[in-house]
């Protein structure tokens, strides 16, 4: 039982780290530009497809990752320049429609380019296999590598946001957008940087997860909504909120699916517990969101309601 708990907790942290990578960009885009971007999940999917392609072409995960990152920059810049840039001053309704259109385009384009059958990406060799954790328990090295990589990026972001000039502008922008323009900063360039940064982080998340998931067209969708939940719970514009929100959502989602039915078995008979548990488990994160929002409408670290 304890072993299962530790295992699932680690899985939760690993999912949380990935969610954070995706949510970090999204929360900045929401917070600073007040733009809703439904196409953010698409970037995660594109990251996975890019590394699948590059890894297959070069025969190496590492070369694949190395090529994916600059490609992600290009993807981010192009989307920003062609579509997003024109949406900043628009109503939320326009933003919803245009980015919804982007989702349809991207999903279909991916199908046209890569086909509908899922792709797989080889695990980098030095990270294959498992390490003993405690007692008979082993854990895949690659998942640990994802956690470490994610935490490293989180730390880097934290330093950037809190100790650099760009970070200072980002924080100011998340609180009050007018301040930033009043500081004489080229707001268009700042927005382009933020959007591209977010795009790269989302692509990175997709690339990192590719070796342990099958890469298919639906993968951006489920993640997008979870990311929204993370951003809403953490508070729009808050990196710290996104980090804690991501871990919270991922751990509740992972542990709830496994331990929910077990807990229910103590009050219901096994078959009913299994049934109820299966229905409730995927709803847990949304219930969590509802409870948090009921107490704090602006999220845990949100400034604006």
């Amino acid at each position: 039982m304890m072993n299962l708990f530790v295992l699932q907790l680690l899985n939760g942290v690993q999912l949380g780290v990935l969610l954070f990578l995706i949510a970090a960009g999204l929360t900045l885009v929401f917070g600073i530009m007040d733009v809703i971007n439904l196409a953010h999940g698409v970037l995660y999917m594109v990251g996975a497809y890019l590394i699948a392609t590059f890894a297959a072409a070069t025969g190496s995960f590492w070369w694949g990752l190395l090529l994916t990152l600059p490609a992600a920059v290009v993807v981010g810049l192009v989307i920003e320049f062609v579509v997003m840039r024109r949406l900043y001053a628009r109503s939320h309704l326009d933003q919803v429609l245009a980015t919804f259109g982007l989702v349809m385009i991207a999903n279909e384009a991916v199908k046209m380019i890569w086909g509908t059958s899922p792709l797989s990406v080889p695990m980098p060799e030095i990270f294959s296999g498992s390490v003993p954790l405690m007692g008979p328990l082993k854990y895949p090295v690659y998942r640990i590598a994802i956690i470490v990589a994610g935490l490293a990026v989180a730390l880097g972001l934290f330093i950037m946001v809190n100790y650099t000039r760009v970070g200072m502008l980002l924080r100011a922008g998340a609180t009050n957008r007018d301040t930033v323009s009043a500081l004489g900063v080229d707001i268009n360039r700042l927005f382009a940087i933020v959007f591209t940064l977010g795009a790269v982080l989302a692509c990175l998340a997709g690339a990192l997860v590719a070796p342990i998931l099958s890469v298919d067209t639906g993968m951006g969708e489920s993640v997008l909504i979870l990311t929204f939940v993370v951003v809403v719970i953490g508070g729009i514009g808050s990196i710290k909120g996104a980090f804690l929100g991501a871990l919270l959502v991922a751990i509740v989602d992972t542990l709830g699916g496994v331990f929910g039915p077990i807990l229910l078995r103590s009050v219901l008979d096994p078959s009913a517990a299994g049934q109820v548990g299966r229905v409730l488990a995927p709803m847990l994160v949304y219930i969590l969101m509802a409870v948090i929002l009921f107490a704090k409408p602006a999220g845990l670290f949100g400034r604006r309601a």
Binding site: H92, V96, P282
Partner: protein, 330 residues
């Protein structure tokens, strides 16, 4: 004291508003469609037509809050699903009556809308959109894992609903005309609501919430009631849709469906009830047409959406703003 004799209503106001005229034209066209389809020997159109009618009901319901209440709900497909599953669930208990199914669908939707609306309406703007989307997904996942009714795969319906024991929906034509009758009745209902005291408060909140509070209204309860009404009407569309497809699955509730509903409303024009009906017709016909042209119709539909937003001078809402139909948000 000239003002006492001045007409209370606008002297030049036409007997029928533009909204009603447009709707009447649409209803007449709808009524003429089936005979035309059978004359063309293509009765399949009647089933497509029923699907259009169902989405027209849903889009009109969404317009009630999106257009009149300025609430961009991205979770409205959930109510389509509630309506559809109400049919499946009652049918599994041997209850086939359309009216009972509608009542059940409305009851579930009202409960869900009160709870999620009360939480969502504590926020606005981007938050509201994301939270309604998340709650929609919650309902979606509930039915995905609801294995008693087929879970992910959905469940086929043994038969169509009956009305007070009569097999009115037995033929495709019967189903079509009952659906059209529902659309007309619900349009009349929505039309009355937006022209009522309640509707005036709701529209006022859209125009200027601060002013509405300054004359003594608390916006929250009006918005919540509108949210609930809209959800309940959308559920009726779901009941129609289940009968049309004779099949129910979580696919009715995916967030893409919520997005498509918003597209229909905007395509037809926000905030006039008749527009979204036309929008549903246009969007679904466009979909059918692109689908016939290419298996990748979603690509073209997406491109159409992006272009529509980017190249109408100030966006669609900007265009409508110019026409004085909607006000910009924040």
């Amino acid at each position: 004291m000239t003002y006492m004799t001045a007409s209370a209503t606008h002297p030049d106001r036409p007997v029928l508003s533009g909204r009603v005229k447009a709707a009447l034209v649409l209803f007449i066209l709808f009524a003429l469609m089936p005979p035309l389809a059978s004359a063309l020997n293509d009765p399949f159109y009647v089933l497509i037509g029923t699907r259009i009618l169902a989405y027209a009901i849903a889009a009109m319901a969404l317009d009630l809050i999106l257009g009149y209440g300025a609430m961009v709900s991205f979770g409205h497909a959930a109510y389509l699903g509630f309506g559809a599953y109400a049919v499946a669930i009652l049918q599994s208990y041997g209850v086939n009556d359309l009216i009972l199914q509608i009542l059940f669908a409305v009851a579930i939707s009202a409960i869900f809308a009160v709870v999620t609306g009360a939480i969502s309406l504590r926020t606005r703007g981007v938050y509201f959109i994301m939270i309604t989307l998340a709650f929609g997904q919650m309902a979606f996942f509930f039915f995905i894992s609801f294995s008693a009714y087929g879970g992910d795969d959905g469940v086929a319906l043994a038969q169509r609903s009956t009305v007070l024991g009569m097999d009115l929906l037995g033929t495709d034509y019967g189903l079509y005309y009952v659906s059209l009758a529902l659309l007309i009745a619900l349009f009349a209902l929505c039309h009355r609501i937006v022209g009522s005291r309640f509707g005036r408060v709701l529209t006022g909140i859209r125009e200027n919430p601060t002013r509405i509070e300054a004359i003594g209204f608390s916006p929250f309860r009006y918005q919540l009631i509108a949210f609930v009404i809209s959800g309940c009407i959308t559920a009726i569309a779901g009941v129609v849709l289940a009968n049309q497809a004779q099949f129910v699955s979580p696919a009715f509730m995916s967030w893409h469906k919520s997005g498509e509903l918003i597209v229909m409303v905007v395509l037809g024009g926000v905030g006039n009830l008749a527009g979204p009906i036309a929008g549903a017709v246009a969007a679904l016909l466009l979909e059918e047409w692109l689908d016939a042209l290419s298996e990748h119709w979603k690509l073209y539909f997406g491109i159409f959406l992006v272009l529509m937003v980017l190249f109408s001078p100030h966006g669609i809402t900007g265009l409508l703003k110019k026409m004085g139909i909607v006000r910009g948000q924040q």
